[in-house]
């Protein structure tokens, strides 16, 4: 499933870029994120819990940056196992920043994700619907966090 979001942050692309690259500041913005840790320059680990109605899932995610062009574009891949190891989530993500004339930054995110395993059967429909909400919330949190600190 593909989720796309476009939003504007009242800050420069560089500010947004620096924020996005800082796991300590990003973590609180990701809904359900319990922890982000840095493995090396291009790899991160995150623990994310998602609850949708009767379903609760905890993912241990590996995020790898495939390609980056500061401060314009990050292409990354997320792959991770659900806490009980019965399901696997993979997502290919693109984040693109464009400088607006008024000094703000246009942010475009897209994420193409799939869930396999047990959640991929009964729960996939619910989880996918939730994915859109998670991105929406993430966008909102990031905008607010940057705007509050800048």
């Amino acid at each position: 499933m593909k989720v796309e979001k476009i939003f504007t942050v009242q800050a420069s692309p560089q500010t947004v870029w620096d924020f996005a690259k800082d796991p300590v500041r990003m973590a609180p913005c990701i809904p359900g994120c319990k922890e982000i840790s840095v493995v090396d320059e291009t790899r991160y680990k995150a623990r994310v819990a998602v609850k949708v109605g009767p379903i609760s899932a905890k993912f241990n995610l590996d995020l790898e940056i495939i390609e980056e062009t500061p401060p314009v574009e990050i292409i990354s891949r997320t792959r991770g196992e659900e806490g009980t190891r019965a399901s696997i989530l993979t997502a290919n993500n693109i984040v693109r920043l464009t400088a607006n004339d008024d000094g703000s930054t246009g942010v475009y995110c897209s994420s193409e994700s799939s869930i396999t395993g047990r959640l991929g059967k009964y729960g996939a429909g619910m989880m996918m619907k939730k994915a859109d909400a998670i991105w929406e919330k993430l966008a909102e949190n990031v905008s607010r966090a940057i705007e509050e600190t800048s």
Binding site: T84, R85, A86, S87, I88, S114, T116, G117, R118, G120, K121, Y122, A124
Partner: protein, 784 residues
């Protein structure tokens, strides 16, 4: 043989009494002392390399005894390869109980946890860490054929497992000369059998005796024993397969399943009894799937309705392995052979291909290819009727073989010995009150009520000969057997190779034996499903129980009767040929006086041999085998009609009523025949309206659970009225043909035709099964 040969038709199924009391004994009801439970770790990927398996955390869980991988099982269980050499070249690859290097479908078992309970085994299974490297998956059959497609088996160099071509007559010329040529494509989605009881195995290896006992949910114990012994390196005599009561088979429980044979291998490895019962989520990704066809077809017809030529091309999916030992090619083979089977035509061409995919393997499920063949044929015939303006019953009458034409050889080479297609259709139309239904349909259209009538006339292949499988080298027995023993009390013990998953085979053989010998049916006990106590037989598949095992029972009972009379003759010094047996008692036919009884014979033979003549040592035990070798299959026929209504606003189809007239030869027990028909019709309704295995592009089964995979429920099912014509086969004395599959074969095409009949005022059609509301609304242009 008594004359006349009357078999008590009203006999209730004695064995069903335990079922209504909840006293059936199914696999999961059995607990052995010291038994542990197996839970399999299954691949979440459709195709991936196994880079490593870490079982350490799982082993730490309290209650876990072993965690087993493919490497552990490899020394115990040899890989197997499904192959039939008589059906052209098959490219086929070996399959292991647990894979070592790659997984090839989502749901393939990768490791096994053995623990004190299923719950604990599941706890630990979640901790088994398999390091997968995902590989590109082959999902769609068309995509599998592309030159750059990833290969399911790189060693084979192709995804094409098998193909066949049939070309008889002058198809191109006949099409060119036809008044009308109609071209259509049909698609039939994958479905699965969903036996209400999931599959399973309890294996108990005794290392002291090198003896392996397996309780198995199988329709074919003797065949399974041969294969299990071969793969596990044991003598066949040291393997005992016991099939307890089985909660539905439908072909699904014929095959060798990797999780089941792994369970047997695990018991040998750890020297403990172990139980594996698939849960419902596992069933959907490990039971065989069936169907999954894309057929393009052409029919040439003249204005008088006579079919001139037929051409079909079928593309079907096999999954990653040809299912053992029957292979997955029989579905497309039967599409190629059976599409024209009901009709008298001179020019026919068929092509069928089977391709590998990273989805669950396909295999024999009720009807095997024939429901697809019939859907195509009946869809084309209805299209021809529309094109020529002929009534849909009339066009069939003009093209079905005449009832006095038999024996004939069908266009695809099948020997059809004696069918009653015309008489069955006539009887059906009367039952349905066809004319009145047409009037009602026409009258409704003006009021916005869209009713439809669907017909199908089909020929069903039953009771195959060894030429189908065994001739190709597969260890599949087409024989069956009956051993009869007269006990000291005068009652009869019967052991047969047949198994009963609910069809009522036990009742049928009881009736045959009772009738032939002349003994009340409650004095006969039947043992089946245990290789240690029954004679070698093929088991239950391809609608063969009554025809094959029934005949073996008839032969054995005939001989047993003769032997009993011989003893009676010796005791009472009367000629055997003037004696007869009625209700367990022996009479002199001339004086009509009672001479003896089975009880007396039993007592004399087993205890009082001193009263017999000195040289006479009677053996009151008889075994007789029978295999049908006259014809590839014994063909039966069926005419089926559907009355339905399409709600053109919601796309919902309401089935009002279904009628069927079948000819399964001699009927032994009408109630059993009728409910076999109805049961298979309802399974066909599932195929038609509800069931589909929905996969995404990565090979994930999206609806593999009972919430989302829809099955027919009582509320939407119509009443189904059945009648018969009896044309006994000459292949056997009993004269019975199979009857368990005609319904599912006929009803799919009839429902499609009924829907298209209802949609006729709109000039639109559907041809993609299942015929869902959404497809119907799209055809109507209500949604785009």
């Amino acid at each position: 043989m008594p004359d006349p040969f009357v078999i008590d038709p009203g006999l209730a199924r004695l064995s069903a009494r335990k079922f209504v009391q909840g006293r059936g004994r199914y696999l999961d009801d059995i607990t052995l002392t010291g038994m542990l439970h197996v839970c399999f770790v299954r691949s979440p990927y459709a195709h991936a390399k196994i880079a490593g398996i870490d079982t350490s955390a799982a082993r730490e869980v309290g209650g876990v005894s072993h965690v087993i991988t493919g490497r552990d099982l490899a020394p115990v269980c040899r890989p197997w390869t499904a192959q039939l050499t008589n059906l052209g070249e098959m490219k086929t690859a070996p399959q292991s109980a647990l894979p070592v290097e790659t997984v090839k479908w989502q749901g393939e078992p990768v490791a096994a946890v053995v623990a004190s309970s299923r719950a604990v085994a599941e706890d630990a299974a979640e901790l088994v860490e398999v390091d997968y490297e995902e590989l590109p998956a082959v999902v769609d059959p068309e995509a599998a054929l592309k030159p750059d497609a990833p290969l399911v088996h790189p060693d084979l160099g192709t995804n094409v497992a098998w193909s066949i071509n049939i070309d008889t007559g002058e198809v191109d010329a006949a099409l060119a000369g036809s008044d009308v040529v109609i071209e259509k494509t049909f698609s039939v989605d994958r479905q699965t059998g969903v036996t209400l009881e999931p599959r399973g195995a309890i294996a108990d290896y005794d290392p002291a005796k090198c003896y392996l006992t397996i309780h198995l949910t199988s329709q074919v114990p003797h065949i399974q024993r041969y294969i299990y012994a071969r793969q596990l390196g044991l003598n066949e005599a040291n393997v005992r397969i016991i099939c307890p009561d089985i909660g539905g088979g439908f072909g699904l429980k014929l095959h060798v399943y990797s999780d089941e044979i792994a369970t047997a291998a695990i018991s040998m490895l750890i020297r403990r009894p172990v139980k594996f019962t698939a849960d419902r989520l596992e069933s959907f990704v490990s039971d065989i799937h069936a169907r999954g066809h894309r057929v393009s077809a052409r029919i040439g017809v003249n204005n008088d309705g006579k079919i001139q030529a037929l051409e079909v091309n079928d593309l079907a999916g096999a999954g990653p392995f040809l299912i053992h030992p029957r292979t997955s090619v029989i579905e497309p083979l039967l599409v190629a052979i059976c599409t024209p089977l009901a009709y008298d035509l001179k020019h026919y061409r068929a092509g069928a291909s089977l391709v590998y995919q990273n989805k669950v393997s396909t295999g024999q499920y009720r009807g095997v290819g024939m429901p697809v063949a019939s859907l195509v044929a009946e869809g084309l015939v209805d299209a021809a009727a529309r094109a020529t303006g002929l009534d849909k019953a009339e066009i069939r009458k003009r093209n079905l073989f005449r009832d006095d034409a038999y024996p004939v050889t069908g266009i695809s080479g099948e020997y059809l010995e004696c069918l009653s297609q015309q008489a069955s259709l006539d009887k059906l139309l009367k039952m349905m009150d066809y004319g009145r239904l047409q009037e009602e349909r026409d009258a409704g259209r003006d009021k916005g009520i869209y009713k439809g009538i669907g017909l199908a006339t089909v020929v069903e292949g039953t009771s195959p000969s060894p030429a189908l499988y065994a001739a190709g080298g597969a260890p599949i027995s087409s024989r069956d057997a009956c051993t009869l023993r007269l006990e000291a009390g005068g009652n009869i013990s019967c052991a047969t190779g047949l198994t009963d998953q609910g069809q009522g085979g036990e009742a049928v053989v009881t009736q045959v034996i009772a009738d032939v010998i002349g003994i009340p049916s409650n004095e006969i006990n039947i043992v089946m499903g245990d290789t240690a106590t029954t004679p070698f037989g093929g088991g239950t598949w391809a609608s063969r129980s009554t025809a094959i095992a029934g005949e073996a029972c008839l032969l054995a009972a005939t001989e047993m009767r003769e032997k009993i009379l011989e003893v009676a003759a010796a005791i009472h010094e009367q000629p055997a040929d003037i004696l007869t047996i009625r209700a367990g008692e022996i009479f002199n036919l001339e004086t009509n006086e009672k001479v003896s009884s089975l009880a007396e014979i039993g007592k004399t033979v087993h205890f009082n041999t001193h009263t017999l003549p000195a040289e006479f040592e009677p053996e009151l035990i008889v075994t007789r085998h029978y295999s049908q070798r006259e014809q590839l299959m014994v063909y039966a026929n069926c005419a089926l009609g559907v009355s339905l209504e399409v709600d053109v606003n919601t796309g919902l189809v309401t089935l009002h009523k279904i009628w069927a007239v079948d000819d399964c030869g001699r009927i032994i027990n009408e109630k059993l025949v009728v409910e076999q028909m109805r049961g298979s019709i309802v399974q066909g309704i599932g195929s038609s309206l509800y069931e589909e295995c929905i996969y995404d592009e990565t090979g994930q089964l999206l609806n593999g659970n009972m919430f989302e995979y829809l099955l027919p429920m009582a509320g939407e099912m119509p009443d189904i009225e059945c009648d018969h014509i009896e044309t006994p086969t000459k292949a056997t004395q009993l004269g019975a043909k199979g009857c368990g599959e005609a319904g599912i074969i006929a009803v799919c095409g009839a429902i499609m035709n009924g829907i298209n009949d209802a949609l006729e005022p709109f000039g639109v059609e559907v041809s993609s099964q299942p015929f869902t509301p959404e497809k119907i609304l799209r055809a109507l242009g209500k949604i785009v």
